[in-house]
């Protein structure tokens, strides 16, 4: 029986999950910086346990159009990982990568695939740090992307968290290149059993 409960987690467990978030986001920044061959700064990620019903308000409200990139996890840890950003950030990433300004409505398969790749790199870096830290093998799927209302996209991770409790673990990070900020949110959603695997691998 899993012995972790997200609604009632002790400080030690929360700190560990937070630290995994920090390290993962740090690695993701390095990967991003390598990909675009330019310095990228990252602020200290904010890690939060949010009530499920507060979740849709994260990115400016449930009806705000956002980009969500989802990767499913298999192996010793099962679950999913999501990277979300607002429209402005998605446009900035496309701008940084492809050197042109395009409105989100005008995105073609070219821009989509650039965004998916970014999501893939960021999530991959995050997962590899988790894997290194814990010694757990994690297999990630290809990235899936959806551009829709924040509430609708967030319903996917929210449902997974909903099986476990009424709270979700969110890691907010901000990348900066020159003067353009890219705000992104990571949501790591291991299954309940996988939380135990993670914590146990760290001796907790």
């Amino acid at each position: 029986m899993p012995n972790i409960n997200l609604d009632n987690m002790d400080n030690m467990q929360f700190d560990v999950l937070k630290e995994i978030g920090n390290i993962g986001a740090g690695n993701a920044t390095t990967a991003l910086s390598t990909m675009i061959n330019s310095k990228v700064d990252m602020n200290v990620p904010k890690v939060d346990l949010l009530e499920l019903k507060e979740l849709p308000d994260l990115l400016g409200g449930a009806e705000e159009i956002v980009v969500g990139i989802l990767i499913t996890l298999e192996g010793e840890i099962n679950g999913m990982m999501m990277f979300m950003m607002d429209q402005a950030s998605a446009c900035r990433i496309v701008d940084i990568l492809m050197g042109k300004t395009t409105a989100i409505e005008e995105f073609t398969e070219m821009e989509y695939s650039a965004l998916r790749e970014i999501g893939n790199i960021i999530a991959g870096a995050y997962l590899s740090s988790l894997s290194t830290l814990t010694g757990i093998k994690i297999h990630a799927s290809i990235p899936y992307m959806s551009i829709d209302m924040a509430g609708a996209i967030l319903s996917v991770p929210a449902i997974e968290f909903g099986k476990v409790g009424d709270k979700a673990l969110i890691i907010e990070t901000q990348f900066t290149k020159d003067d353009s900020d890219v705000n992104g949110y990571f949501i790591l959603i291991p299954t309940l059993e996988s939380y135990d695997v993670i914590l146990r691998s760290l001796g907790l």
Partner: protein, 161 residues
């Protein structure tokens, strides 16, 4: 003009004419609305998961299709609705990401819709309209005065059912 009452994720609420209920950005969750056209009582529940008996932490009734519908009916009856007059409209249950795999975790929208329909059928409540499935989010508004359900999606015309 009545007030618009917000129903959050894993949440339920009721209202009567001229007010309305709304839930914003419904994805794989399902919005189940019930209506008594005589007392003009409207109810809405935003369910996230099909079955409360499969989950350990199931205190939040509104989270599940089975217990959510029961809790909503109870609340509506207390407010003066007649159980035998209730009719249902449902929306949501989208598959937000186009997965190729048949992973159960990813078919949750479809399962939510199936469970909602099964629950309503077991109570003998007729579903007179639905806008479910596909791959996009929906904002719904349910008007107690008329029993009309408005469905709004990105880049699509308003649907009134």
């Amino acid at each position: 003009m009545g007030i618009m009452v917000k129903v959050g994720m894993a949440d339920l609420n009721i209202c009567s004419s001229p007010d309305a209920l709304t839930t914003l950005g419904l994805g794989s969750c399902v919005g189940i609305t019930l209506y008594d056209s005589v007392s003009k009582t409207a109810g809405m529940v935003h369910v996230m998961l099909p079955d409360s008996t499969k989950i350990k932490n199931n205190e939040n009734f509104a989270k599940f299709a089975d217990t959510g519908v029961d809790a909503l009916i109870e609340k509506m009856v207390l407010a003066g609705a007649n159980r035998n007059r209730l009719i249902a409209k449902i929306a949501g249950g989208a598959q937000m990401f186009a997965f190729s795999s048949n992973n159960d975790m990813l078919r949750i929208g479809e399962r939510n819709v199936e469970a909602s329909k099964a629950k309503l059928a077991s109570l003998g409540i007729r579903i007179i309209a639905e806008d479910t499935g596909l791959n996009y989010g929906r904002t719904i508004e349910f008007y107690a005065g008329t029993g009309e359900l408005y469905v709004k999606s990105v880049g699509k015309p308003l649907k009134i059912m």
